[in-house]
């Protein structure tokens, strides 16, 4: 393998990893605050891609308008899912909430099949992202550079939001202890909705860039990335935002390099994430950045 080829694979890995990171942040934020795997997160991601698709194709909006509208709609969708599916049973055993989130995911998938149809559609191409550039001997899509830049920018914005603002402080308080946060006068319901909204916005940005990178879109396209991003969140240490980003990069780069170096195993690409997950769970269950929590009797 030549150096150029390796760099090309590495660039692809980094951009895939950034996409995983964006979606993984949503998982990790929701888990941090509610201790819940939001199975519907992958489908919210899928919905964002379709919103953007219809904005451009059906309503003929310019791509930037359509993308902004799609991102906003997805945020609303995330908050709606939280209000309808999770809020009524927040006090119930965790298994019930987990089943509810599976139900929400199942519902979104089936709705997407009915509304959008089961056949793949082609996501519109935006020239300034999808054009190829040549650097030395490497041919690469501009998008490959845009994705990591957008991810890093959003990550800094999110860090600012969580560490420097009042809403961020409320989020941190709720994730530590819901009851105490409520006593301190924090509107818990609003904070949780806000968290879902932010997570869904990030998933929407990830989804739209995913659509630009892999233009064939399907109602079930969110399932695999969804599970993989959850895995990325677990690898990094669930509940920890920096961890989710690190996990996303490990997963994305690892996946691309595995296929690049061992083409024979390319059929097993989807299994790689799960094997990594099981290794992490067995040897370091709290992930790379996670803190050790011992169970209280």
């Amino acid at each position: 393998m030549t150096l150029e080829l390796f760099l090309q694979h590495l660039a692809n890995g980094i951009s895939l990893g950034s996409l995983y990171a964006l979606v993984a942040i949503g998982y990790t934020m929701v888990y941090g605050i509610l201790r819940l795997i939001n199975f519907a997160h992958g489908d919210i991601f899928m919905m964002a891609v379709y919103f953007a698709f219809f904005g451009v194709i059906t309503f003929g909006m310019p791509w930037y308008v359509s993308f902004v509208v799609a991102i906003a709609l997805t945020g609303v969708l995330g908050i709606t899912v939280e209000t309808l599916a999770y809020r009524p049973i927040r006090e119930a055993p965790r298994i019930s909430i987990l089943i509810s989130s599976i139900g929400a995911s199942y519902l979104l998938e089936n709705l997407a099949i009915v509304i959008y149809g089961g056949r793949p559609k082609t996501f519109p191409q935006v020239p300034i992202f999808t054009d190829m550039v040549q650097i030395g001997n490497i041919h690469i899509q501009l998008l490959t550079f845009v994705i990591p830049v957008v991810t890093v920018a959003l990550l800094f914005a999110l860090m600012y939001l969580i560490n420097m603002t009042k809403s961020g402080m409320a989020m941190r308080a709720v994730s530590k202890d819901i009851e105490t946060a409520r006593i301190m006068g924090i509107d818990v319901d609003r904070t949780i909705s806000f968290t879902f909204g932010i997570g869904s916005l990030l998933a929407a940005v990830g989804g739209i860039m995913w659509g630009l990178k892999f233009p064939s879109i399907l109602p079930l396209m969110g399932v695999m990335p969804g599970i993989k991003c959850f895995i990325a969140a677990v690898i990094g240490g669930i509940g920890n935002i920096t961890g989710a980003v690190i996990g996303g990069f490990i997963l994305g780069i690892g996946e691309i390099l595995l296929v690049a170096f061992l083409p024979k195993l390319s059929g097993y690409r989807d299994a790689f994430a799960f094997i990594l997950l099981i290794m992490i769970l067995l040897f370091r269950p709290t992930g790379i950045m996670g803190e050790k929590i011992s169970e209280k009797v």
Partner: protein, 346 residues
């Protein structure tokens, strides 16, 4: 107690008479639905043992079913059909020379599933709650990915066609009755009590001397055994299988059955397996054009089912039966007018 035994035996005889009548008189469409009902009963019970009785939230059922379905199919297919299926790459040897009868194939399918469950369970069952859910989901996906890639063993993504249609009402209802019998005996044994103790509180159970590892793995393996058998019955009923059949959609369907029936109720699972399977057929008209002017919306049926799952979880969290079970005493008590103290209905 002895009286109840007689009732049970009578009920089994009645069941067999009904199966005989159904098998000879009903048309193949209704028979197929009844077969599916019975198979989903087996699958639901096996998942309920793991999720409902032992409290291990496992989402790996589709993987175990895939192991069972492929094992049974590979063992029962005639040699000529095997050759027709494996035109891309030849089938690996012993399998290309042997054809087994149905029963040993099914048993081996169950045992293989249980063995896979042991391999998976031994490391993974230390995890709890949602981590376990995602890890088992991951394993069932890995099984599917492996089956898609082992061209010479499973024919890869092409799947297997022309599996002999051995499954009939006798097989499915017989297996379902046998599964119910095993589950009832198991739940009422000391193992069953240990399972329930683990479900209620792991730490308390452990401090009472229940070996967590042993019982979790046992429950997981027994569940996988019956899931494998259910998968085998399903494969030989439908006649064609491919790896895509065993996606998590399959697991979700079974999850819907046990949630509707009540996590931790054998009776509930049996009832809801019948309700869900019949409703899935009955609601098929939703996928057709309902009004002449409105075009058909294929997939609407599944939307109804996903809403049903949501409604059950949100508003009827305990399902149809909760953890209650059918018993002859309650059954007759319901019809008698005796006061409660003398065994009347509640």
């Amino acid at each position: 107690m002895k009286k109840n035994m007689i009732y049970t035996i009578t009920a089994i005889i009645v069941l067999f008479v009904l199966v005989y009548i159904a098998d000879t008189t009903l048309d193949s469409y209704i028979l197929r639905i009844l077969n599916l009902c019975a198979i989903y009963t087996v699958l639901g019970l096996s998942m309920n043992l793991i999720n409902g009785f032992t409290g291990l939230f496992s989402l790996g059922h589709a993987g175990f079913m895939a192991v069972g379905a492929y094992t049974t199919a590979m063992l029962t297919m005639p040699l000529a059909t095997k050759q027709m299926n494996f035109f891309l790459a030849p089938l690996i040897s012993p399998l290309d020379k042997i054809v087994w009868p149905f029963l040993p194939s099914l048993l081996l399918a169950g045992l293989l599933s249980a063995f896979v469950a042991f391999l998976i369970g031994a490391p993974v069952l230390r995890l709890k709650g949602d981590y376990l859910a995602i890890a088992t989901l991951g394993f069932s996906e890995i099984i599917r990915v492996i089956f898609t890639n082992t061209q010479r063993l499973t024919n890869g993504a092409l799947g297997l066609k022309g599996i002999p249609a051995t499954t009939n009402l006798w097989w499915t209802c017989g297996t379902a009755a046998f599964t119910v019998f095993i589950m009832v005996s198991l739940i009422n044994s000391s193992y069953g009590r240990a399972f329930k103790a683990i479900r209620e509180d792991e730490i308390a159970a452990e401090s009472m001397g229940v070996s967590l590892f042993k019982h979790k793995v046992l429950s997981f393996m027994i569940g996988a055994f019956f899931a494998g058998i259910g998968g085998g019955l399903l494969g030989n009923l439908i006649g064609a299988i491919d790896p895509l059949m065993f996606r998590f959609f399959m697991t979700y369907n079974i999850l819907l059955i046990i949630v509707l029936g009540g996590m931790g109720s054998i009776t509930g699972t049996v009832i809801s397996a019948f309700i869900i399977t019949i409703a899935q057929e009955f609601l098929r008209f939703l996928d057709e054009p309902i009004f002449p002017s409105v075009p058909a919306l294929p997939g609407l049926r599944m939307v109804v089912f996903s809403i049903l799952l949501m409604v059950v979880v949100l508003f009827f969290r305990r399902g149809l039966m909760g953890t209650r079970e059918f018993s002859w005493n309650k059954f007759f008590g319901f019809f008698s007018k005796k006061p409660l103290a003398k065994g009347g209905a509640e």
